[in-house]
């Protein structure tokens, strides 16, 4: 039932994304217009994929660190991506893929550093150290980014931040293909970890007694969720809020079992982000809003309503 509802919502969102836009296309031309095929469709699909990836990454990381405030970008990834993007512009790296690739490398670099910090206590990944390490690495990357921005004399640096604040202006079939080729592996790894993630909610020791390989689980989930987030950064910049709120919404609506939580988080995240992007490019036309603003404007009231309903009930 929930999958039918979500599939319906996804289809409706995609249809809306294809039908509306600043260019007034007659209905008859929709199927043949390059505006639909080269702009609206890849953009909607990419927004859906990125929203889904962030939803799943957020759900997994919240389960891993057992902290409801965890967000895919909390663990230093946004700082690392920002550093990569700014460095690419300051070094004048050529080519259209320089910026996204550098952001990806920066995010993965931050991830590796946080991962290494998480292991300082021995062979076991400590979720508390992960959180602290993530904040510290993010702050370090932010400081280096600011140093580059204030010392380098490149007018384009301001635009690196515009890019980093996220959005789907640069969506094309190429970015959709990159995401389609890349995302299934980490998504599959996380969905396969659904059962042990449920056990982890009981605490690390009980999960171990119940047969989960906790040590391996924590490493695999951390790496898969981070790599998924890094890919999202590379194609769409840092889009906040989806990865924080979608897991909570799904948990409130459909329970805590990760076997349903992960797929519903993917669909809900996709629907939320695709809808937010459609609004971002239409409500203030001819201008466009940064999509992160719309996700927050849409998500916070829904979230507050759900919280109220569930805590009162």
């Amino acid at each position: 039932m929930k999958y039918l509802v979500l599939a319906g919502a996804a289809l409706a969102t995609l249809a809306a994304a294809l039908l509306v836009g600043p260019a007034n296309l007659p209905l008859a031309d929709l199927a043949s217009s390059p505006i639909v095929w080269q702009l609206r469709l890849p953009r909607a699909v990419l927004a859906f994929l990125v929203g889904g990836a962030l939803g799943v990454a957020g759900t997994s990381l919240q389960a891993l660190v057992r902290n409801p405030l965890a967000d895919p970008f909390l663990l230093g990834l946004s700082g690392g991506a920002g550093l990569g993007a700014v460095a690419a512009i300051a070094l004048h790296l050529p080519g259209p893929w320089a910026l996204p690739l550098a952001a990806f490398v920066g995010a993965v670099g931050a991830m590796a550093l946080v991962y290494r910090l998480g292991l300082v206590g021995g062979g076991e990944l400590d979720p508390r150290i992960l959180l602290l390490g993530g904040v510290a690495v993010g702050a370090l990357a932010g400081a280096i980014t600011t140093a580059i921005v204030s010392l380098a004399e490149a007018t384009e640096l301001r635009n690196a931040f515009l890019w980093l604040w996220g959005g789907f202006s640069g969506a094309s079939w190429t970015t959709v293909l990159v995401m389609l080729a890349y995302a299934p592996l980490p998504l599959g790894v996380l969905i396969a970890a659904a059962r042990p993630l449920d056990l982890l909610a009981l605490g690390e020791e009980p999960a171990q007694y119940l047969g989960a390989d906790v040590r391996r689980l924590k490493r695999v989930v951390y790496l898969a969720a981070s790599l998924l987030t890094a890919a999202a950064v590379a194609v769409a910049g840092v889009i906040g809020f989806v990865g924080l709120v979608v897991p909570h919404v799904c948990r409130l609506l459909w329970g805590r079992l990760h076997r349903t939580l992960l797929p519903t988080a993917f669909l809900t995240g996709g629907v939320l982000l695709a809808a937010a992007d459609t609004l971002a490019r239409t409500v203030v036309a001819p201008r466009e809003l940064p999509v992160g603003i719309v996700t927050a404007l849409l998500g916070v009231p829904v979230f507050a309503f759900l919280l109220r309903r569930w805590t009162v009930g």
Binding site: A23, G95, P96, S169, G170, R281
Partner: protein, 297 residues
Amino acid sequence: MRRWTVRTHLAGLVALAAATCARGERAPAAGPAVIDDAHRRVTLAVPARRIVSLLPSFTEMLFAIGAGDRLVGRTAWCDYPPAALAVPSVGDGIPPNVEAVAARRPDLVVLYRSGPNVTAAEQLERLGVRTVLFDLNRLEELGSVARRLGVLTGHRAAADSLARAMDSLVSQGPESPTPNPKSLAFIVWDNPPIVIGAGSFLDRLAGLAGAHNVFHDIATPSAQVSIETIAARNPDFIAVLSDTAAPPRYAGRPEWRVVPAVRKGRFLVLPGGLFGRPGPRAAEAVRELRRRLETTP
């Protein structure tokens, strides 16, 4: 009786001397004075002799009115006229390095009125350095800035004639209005796409060159739009500010090729030094844009 007279004379002389001194102290009020765009009254005892300019447009303008030799500091961006490069740089000016500016011992610092610059001006004033803040976002503001710089530097005649040229440039319509004006969009960044709106001097520059900015309905200087909006507005030309003549790197990407002007390669690559800021060369920029509109296929 006689002695008394001498005494009163002496007293009179002293009083007269005191009065002269008092007038002497008030003399700064008789020096150059203007009201700047932060609504402050800026007065100098004598025309400024050591000036720091913190905007390339002001540097160009000071040279244009013949006060270039008074400059003792400029920003790293001030590269025109070539003589400006001989003036010591005080950094990029965003925000101004107050210490580096004060170290040039200026008697006047010319700043663009922005939040951080207003703060820097207050700090400089506390150090005893006179500052003046000007708005310079539109071509219409050039004349008034030139006039006030002329007053502060004592180059009134040259400044007034530059100001008259600027005012007549903006008051005239296009020299030869074309029946079907060409349309263009200034694209200053591709991801996300940022275009120039009516709040920028570039919009006016395009109008004077006989072209229509398709984003004239956006009131702000610049705005983020979608590629679809650019495609729907369908400008004849895409204008980009760049110092290399090559078309921008996004020109070959499929999502951008939905815009007809991109697909046809109709780019106007405008030199950033001439088109990136409003200044005394505005008329030259208008002629250059008109020439490119006519010669670009």
